[in-house]
Amino acid sequence: MTTEERIELAQWAIKQVLTNGANESAVSISNRRNIEIQYRDKKIERLKESVQNSLSLEIYADQRYSAHSTNDLRRLFLQNFFREAVSSTKYLNPDPFRALPEAKYYPQKADRDLKIYDPSFHIIQPADRLKLARQIEAAAMSQSDKIISATAGYSDVHYENVQIHSNGFVGISTGTMYAASAEVTVQDKNGGRPEDWCSASVRFHCDLPPADMIGKTAADRALRKIGQCKVESGKYDMIVENRSGSRLLSLFQTPMTARALQQKSSFLDGMLNKKIASPLLTVIDDPFLEKGLASRLFDSEGLAAEKKNMIENGILRHYYIDNYYGKKLGMEPNAGSPSNIRLRTGEKSREEMIGNLSRGILITGFIGGNSNTTTGDFSYGIVGLLIENGEIVKPVNEMNISGNAGDFWNRLVEIGNDPYTYAAAQTPSMLFEGVQFSGI
């Protein structure tokens, strides 16, 4: 199906839904082409290719709301599907806040090039994909004879999404994504088989890091876990390496949404323009970041994207307000979910931060745990490295950190200069003082 055919199908769908009795409707039609390779033991372990389509539909009928989706795009099926969808919507309770966003919130022009589509996608050959995966595995395996298993991964995806609302919004987004990764397991003397990984996701094929770097990084990270053990419970200074930092930022994410505020389940309720973190923390939501993994001109409701400092010098400046809960709260909508997240970076490298630490733990990964969005309490499992007198002395694991988001983010004392660019949340390394660890 071409873009024009998708637009035509979406317009037809809206017409059908309105004819069946809806007052308003939003339709999106997407297509996704995907290839995935897993390579292990010098051969392909799994090769997967797919093309998938989907149609999603929102129905607004007499202040009643429902949403539906299907991957069956045959018009004969859809006609019946729409009829049943509209008919079942009429049983719901009316809700005065259910309506499409007002047209003034849609983007006035959507022609900015965010560089999320790589035109070279179509010239990538099966042999190129395989070669990269093979090189990643070989690079990992060459690092040590203690390696039990190294699995290389490669995937690429091309997607197109056409979104049309009955009150005038038309949005088309086309993009590409590539990911390359390695997972390595090594043998420890005590019978354990520690594992670690390295992965990179990018918009353009030419931005993938070298295969060698991916394979070797995963292997080195797994190898340095040999001999890992837990240490005494207590308060430690904590450096969180850049690629793991988004887990901590996620403490704010759900509580910053209009739904959490309206449903009274946010510890950030009433904190707008108040201090919620150390003055070092400035969190920027940047949908216009070129080549960003979450770059967009409009969100899933068609709301125009906007660059915002969500937290500025530790002060909460914005919530994420979507159309529906914004109406319920009487607040202006401003896009209901995060896009690319960047932090204002500092001067020091991670190595300098480690060198300056007399005793602490460098977190290299989280395992499990959860947080309470209503109170801000959290508790996460961790793995990392113990630092003494500015040097890494041994790997640690099987420990937890615990705290409350309000207190915890005020313990931030240093922000690194190394944002992690292979994810939508580009956190740099961060140093926190006096964090509660539990171990022995």
């Binding site: 998938q52 719901l92 009316p94 499990g368 959860n370 694991n397 937890n400 615990s402 509660q436 171990g439």
Partner: protein, 469 residues
Amino acid sequence: MDYYNHFGITNSDIQIVIAEALSRGGDYCDIYFQHKISNSIGLEDKSVNRAYSNVDFGVGIRVLKGDQTGYSFTEEMTVKAMKSAAKTAANIAKDSRTIPPQQLKVHSGPDYYPVQTRWEDVSVDQKIPLLHLINEKVFAKDQRIIKSNIMFSDETSYIFLATSEGKIISDYQPMGSVYVTATAEQNGRREQNYANLAGRKGIEFLTAAAIDKLATDAVQKTVELFEAEKPRAGEMEVVLAAGSSGILLHEAIGHGMEADFNRKGTSIFADKMNKPVAEKFVSILDDGTNPGYRGSINVDDEGNDTEKTFLIKDGILRSYMHDRISARFYKVKPTGNGRRQSFRYAPLPRMRNTYMLPGPHKKEEIIRSVKNGLYAESFTNGQVFIGAGDFTFYVKFGYMIEDGKLTKPVKDVNIIGNGPEVLKNIIMVADDFIMDEGGWTCGKDGQGVPVSLGLPTVKVSRITVGGKS
């Protein structure tokens, strides 16, 4: 139910697709047709004001060459589209050969989830009053309740599988679930928690008693958090309450016993088969045959009969959980654990209902034996590092145990341990086994599958609890 008619295919179509799939020299292939219908309705602010539905339709084609997998799927149910997908999947092998047509034979099995009324025959207006009833009960039970959210979901999946070994299998998989969230306020402080109920059942699972229990549990689990604090940090004795503590088995042992990790040597259990790993009174099963439970399956997604698989029997490690690839590698019979999220994915060894058999001790005796420890009662989520054996699970609520008695309530704390170590440290198992009926979903390699879990009251002699100093 005529599955051939439902998917618009014939044996001759299947034979054409199989021939294409094996045309490059693959050893085996399967064709997995699926039609899934999902519905949910939600209550918020005392109003049933949202409904969602999804209809998913497609066919996945898998070709195996030794332990290598080629996979493709199509959403178009035509022979042309299926042949094209089969050709893509066939590329995992590199030879060329002609496969004669296979004799196809229908394989039938038991029905572990009979339903009185199929979900397709239940309309939205039948469900709406149930949500209002739960909501009224939630608000009536405690004046501190300020919000209640209820999500009622049902799912029907029709599955039809043909293998190159000539097996034809079909299955009808229903699922119902209700999720009740309550938010309460007391002296300016707020807390939120939830209760849920799920199973491969029809609408009859929402009995008056079940509705009352959902409302009672959601409220009770929320308001009790007001009195709770974080426990002290560090290693301590931990007693796991009967029921949802089965998450311990899922994370600490279950994933590590999935045979793909062992075949590759990446599981900490890879060299422990037939060795003692726990006390003699510890027996752990993964079972697909429990009527109506969320992880039950009549047949796995590779067409193998499901079964009760003893992972650990009387303290000895006895079996991994196998899919076709690993069963061939280990030269054992498949255990019926080859599962997939949908036609879009190749199957992997996955858990079903994982639980521990009752033991010789009494709950009271176990609590009495603890000088200073934690009684963990309700849980939300967990994770494991398969190779290192580190696993976690998050305790939403529990109590401290001091001098053999439950004392201060505690909340929001992560527990972390090492799988084989914790197995060795299970020193008491009670006779009060409970299977949990919550809506657990297990994630692995980007695929989610429904599971269940259960446990009697268990004492672990030493494990690290997050908390404060």
